[in-house]
Chain length 222, copies 2
Amino acid sequence: MTNQAGSKTPQVSLRTVERLSLYRSILEELNQEGAQSIHSGQLAALVDVTPAQVRRDLASFGSFGNVARGYDVRRMARTISEIIGTDQVQDVALIGVGNLGRALLSYGGFEERGFHVSVAFDADPNKAGRTYAGRRCHGIDELETVLRASDIRIAVLATRPEGLQEIIDRAAEAGVRGFLNFVPKMTTTPPGCFIEPIDISAKLEKLSFLSRPHDESRKERP
Amino acid sequence: MTNQAGSKTPQVSLRTVERLSLYRSILEELNQEGAQSIHSGQLAALVDVTPAQVRRDLASFGSFGNVARGYDVRRMARTISEIIGTDQVQDVALIGVGNLGRALLSYGGFEERGFHVSVAFDADPNKAGRTYAGRRCHGIDELETVLRASDIRIAVLATRPEGLQEIIDRAAEAGVRGFLNFVPKMTTTPPGCFIEPIDISAKLEKLSFLSRPHDESRKERP
DNA sequence: GTCTGTGAAGCTCTTCACAGCG
DNA sequence: CGCTGTGAAGAGCTTCACAGAC
């Protein structure tokens, strides 16, 4: 299927990657339940997309389907993990230990999916040195040192809006490449980095728009 | 540009709505700072899209720009609020008062954007009756009664995965149309409803993919 | 000159539909 | 048969580029 000659282009589209996460968690479940293989149509029904979409997504990094049996559940889950980069547990930093930050520290869901929040930071001197959900909270002044020492590449941002950009820039300088940003504030992305914003209020606004009284004529699963 | 003859189709695309949220929060800020009007290029720079995109988005619900002055900041913010449906404060229900739920209750950002978490529910009988961040927590058995009494149309889901679908179906039955779902579990959307999933681990997986070592040749702002 | 609103082009992602294989 | 992988068509969104207004 010839991507580009001898190039390093993986050419998996972002939309595809987002669905790969879905496929993987479903496949992981199926594997638990003892399923060996699955057809594109079945997987499609479980994640609510078309069978063609599933086939294309899975074919986008090579062909793994067997005509008779469909896709090997275990193998496909493993392959997706390798593509995403979660075949080994990754350490993640949490910056900002306020209400949301503490909730994230207590949240068990990350571990299941291959992420471990190993360090926490907060600008508040009263919080630095304390322990939250088993993790010691460092002061912001230790940001570079600790990030570098732990070789952290992904950080979750849950600070106040003030000074956010500076924290991003410093973390990027210390080797962090991906930021999951819960702070509703526009940011500038340092070169080579990626910021994934989660603006909860914006999602509510989207829902508000969708669920206004009128507005027949719209699909349910946007 | 003729949408459809005399129909009520607003035909604002979902992508556009998501950007409208952005525009609005920026416009609100600008208004605070005393700005009267703004050009598409300036707004575009602030939200990191092309000027053409801004013009098309804003033109998608009628023309409001003045050639000389650009767009009226105050008026545009108000118009967007009307489109989204946040021109009046909307009551929102929180279902599930665990770590994440409590963090959301303490989060002040909703009020600023026109949402008020007015009621909370939890399946745990120990939590029902207690008060969190000033809101009384109801038992799940009161779901229909309270939702109906408050005429709630949007709910935030932060429960355990078990029983999630039943809660969604019951809430939908009680008039809720939009769900902001933090629970990482596949759900079936009741007819006429909208579910906006926020899967934090999936976002981390996306970042993990993007920030793998290789992978030159990719834009920074996905 | 500057800036908006918008046809038309371009691009990306999705779906169709079928060859090929077991 | 039924299913995968995929060229080709389709749908949707973005950008270009320019007419018209000032």
